[in-house]
């Protein structure tokens, strides 16, 4: 279940990233608030309401059953039969009554069977027939009593039907579940959440035994098995030199290779009759390769210089990138932030980059003019493998709003000179003058706590020095009003 949820989640995110880069970079947050303990009280409220309505619920259940045509027909049939029994009973011929009743009860059985056959199992039929007989036997009272029993029976039919349904329903639910699980399998495979997205490494992509340009050979003998040795953190790659029965030499270097560490190209050929000539000038059987480029080898038969084979391969040696976006950061809306995907300068241009934000493909990203909110920044760097890192960027609105009036009358509303957003700038300096230019207040670290002091209702002038990079100064007037 968890796995399924996770799979769904990644498929949703993937889909989103493709069509809506801005939306996908927004951190999902619940926009709404609920009162504390709301869900506990909700739980109790629902319980109270539901369990109070219990009688109503049974009635509605009953009327629901009546609404279904199959049951209402069968119930109607039963009512008609019972009425006819009633008529029969009041006939003077009391001797024949018992025989007639048996007949009728059988009929009613049949009628029931016809009507209910699919939906109600034999239990109900037995029950209902028993009840019919019972009614027949004790049917020496007036019509109203008969009606009562009809009601009872209706309920019986209803209840039985209800008991009967779970099995059927369970089955249908099971098949649904199976369908569901199928759909999970059919879904696109999720990306591994590991840091290595794309584990196509050299050893995997190498496929030996490609047909050669001179491959007329009838019987090929593979001299060396192609193996990948991972000793000493060096990957070695064997090249198969194949010898045909017609003594034509045959060499195959396989597919191009990308590796994150130096590799050894090893012919692995013990055939003494061959000489090797590499494009690097080396003549040994195996060579070490530690830089990217095109490498080729010529294998020549010592005794027959015309019998040679040649192949080449592109080797890409690229250390796997170390992607680090650093810790999560918080900036203001007016600030910008440059993030570098990798610190390694040497191979900067050899990698390809992808940023989730706006699908940028440079090695760095310049984040500016962002709206306040939380962003998920993800960088994918591809060398031989793709590696990614994520960080969360919180953008705050650090703008400052200075009011032009406050009312220090002690009513708890707007009693202080509160500069909104000043919390982001500790150690901001505030000086206030009155109309005569006399300083009435000064604070080197204003905490939104000036209540006007002993000063009367009037206009005052302030100078606010904000402790940001530029030491911005804001000037203006503030009116004290409503002071008694």
């Amino acid at each position: 279940m968890l796995n399924k949820k996770h799979q769904n989640k990644t498929s949703v995110e993937k889909e989103l990233q493709e069509i809506a880069p801005i939306l996908s970079s927004i951190e999902k947050q619940n926009a709404f608030v609920v009162p504390d303990d709301y869900f506990d009280t909700l739980y109790e409220n629902i319980q109270n309401k539901c369990y109070q309505n219990k009688t109503v619920s049974l009635w509605s259940h009953f009327t629901n059953i009546l609404r279904k045509p199959v049951y209402s027909i069968s119930i109607a049939a039963v009512i008609i039969i019972l009425i006819s029994i009633g008529f029969n009973f009041f006939k003077p011929n009391s001797l024949k009554i018992s025989e007639d009743k048996k007949l009728i009860s059988e009929q009613s059985n049949n009628a029931n069977q016809d009507n209910i056959n699919n939906d109600i199992n034999s239990d109900i039929q037995k029950n209902s027939s028993k009840q019919n007989q019972k009614i027949d036997k004790t049917n020496n009272k007036n019509k109203s009593e008969i009606a009562l029993k009809q009601d009872k029976k209706k309920q019986l039919v209803g209840l039985n039907n209800h008991k009967n349904s779970p099995e059927l329903a369970n089955n249908s639910q099971k098949t649904e579940q199976i369908n569901n699980s199928n759909s999970i399998i059919n879904q696109t495979p999720s990306i591994n959440n590991k840091k290595e997205n794309n584990p196509i490494i050299a050893s995997n992509s190498y496929q030996p035994g490609q047909t050669n340009s001179e491959g007329i050979a009838t019987k090929q003998k593979q001299i060396s098995n192609i193996t990948n040795q991972n000793t000493n953190n060096q990957k070695s790659k064997n090249i198969s030199v194949e010898e045909s029965s017609s003594k034509k030499l045959f060499v195959n270097l396989g597919n191009d290779i990308c590796s994150n560490s130096p590799i050894t190209l090893d012919a692995g050929n013990s055939n003494r009759n061959c000489t090797y000539k590499w494009s690097t000038g080396e003549t040994t059987k195996a060579i070490n390769v530690n830089s990217s480029g095109k490498y080729s080898v010529t294998v020549i038969n010592k005794s027959d210089a015309n019998n040679f084979a040649k192949d080449e391969i592109n080797v890409k040696i690229l250390p796997s990138p170390i992607v680090d976006l650093g810790p999560d950061k918080t900036i203001c809306t007016n600030e910008s932030l440059i993030l570098y995907a990798i610190k390694d300068e040497e191979h900067l241009k050899d990698y390809t980059y992808k940023w989730s934000m706006n699908n940028e493909t440079k090695s760095f990203i310049n984040l500016k003019n962002l709206l306040p909110g939380t962003y998920k920044i993800k960088a994918e760097v591809s060398g031989c493998k793709t590696i990614y890192d994520e960080m969360t960027l919180t953008v705050n609105d650090c703008s400052i709003e200075i009011p032009n009036v406050f009312t220090p009358n002690g009513d708890g509303k707007n009693d202080f000179f509160v500069i909104k957003g000043l919390e982001s700038y500790p150690n901001s300096k505030l000086i206030i003058f009155n109309r005569n230019g006399v300083k009435v207040f000064e604070s080197k670290n204003y905490k939104n706590n000036w209540d006007g002091g002993n000063n009367s209702n009037s206009v005052y002038y302030y100078i606010l020095t904000i402790s940001d990079e530029n030491k911005t100064e804001r000037k203006g007037t503030i009116t004290i009003y409503g002071k008694q």
């Binding site: 926009a31 609920v34 779970p166 369970n170 649904e176 709206l371 909110g373 609105d397």
Partner: protein, 182 residues
């Protein structure tokens, strides 16, 4: 505590002795889902609260007749959806300017009851969602917030997977456009 499976809950509910216990478990399991689904559609807390209670009363009354042609969770979602939409319809009928008026009302609720700063990108997203037509809004909510598959949504809404994909994509495009412009 691990959640009980729907089957287990239904089984408990069908037994007269454990009926209330089974239903309690059902409330515990689904109340948040129902509430949040309703809240995302009607935005205002009080309305979502009413709807949630109505939904559970409906479930309580009708669980007996639940035929299990669908899964319990999609049945509950379906009820919640219908309740929420009926509610909005009712609310709209009281307004003089039906469409824009309703959007404004919901937007008021968003402003009053949201924890978000009105300048934040998350707030803009909510505004963008508000502007969507109801159907697209519902599909978007289910996919984006609840991570449901198209197949599950299709079971709930009774719409084909293809049509759902289309309306989800249109919804996303609209939101993206709105976010770009603002």
């Amino acid at each position: 505590m691990s959640e009980f499976s729907d089957n287990k809950i239904l089984e408990l509910f069908r037994n007269e002795d454990t009926r209330n216990y089974g239903f309690n478990l059902l409330i515990k399991k689904y109340q948040k889902k129902v509430y949040w689904q309703a809240r995302r559609i009607v935005i205002c807390h009080d309305d979502a609260n009413d709807i949630t209670q109505n939904v559970f009363i409906k479930i309580w009354k009708n669980l007996d007749t639940f035929r299990e042609e669908s899964l319990l969770f999609s049945w509950i979602y379906k009820i919640t959806n219908n309740e929420s939409l009926t509610f909005l319809k009712k609310k709209r009928s009281f307004l003089s300017v039906p469409f824009e008026g309703l959007e404004n009302q919901l937007s008021d609720c968003l402003n009053e009851e949201s924890s978000l700063d009105t300048n934040s990108i998350q707030y803009k997203l909510q505004k963008a969602i508000l502007k969507l037509p109801e159907k697209q809004k519902i599909v978007f909510n289910m996919r984006y917030y609840e991570n449901l598959t198209y197949k599950e949504i299709s079971q709930i809404l009774g719409t084909s997977v293809g049509a759902l994909k289309a309306s989800y994509h249109i919804a996303i495009k609209k939101i993206e456009k709105y976010l770009k412009e603002n």
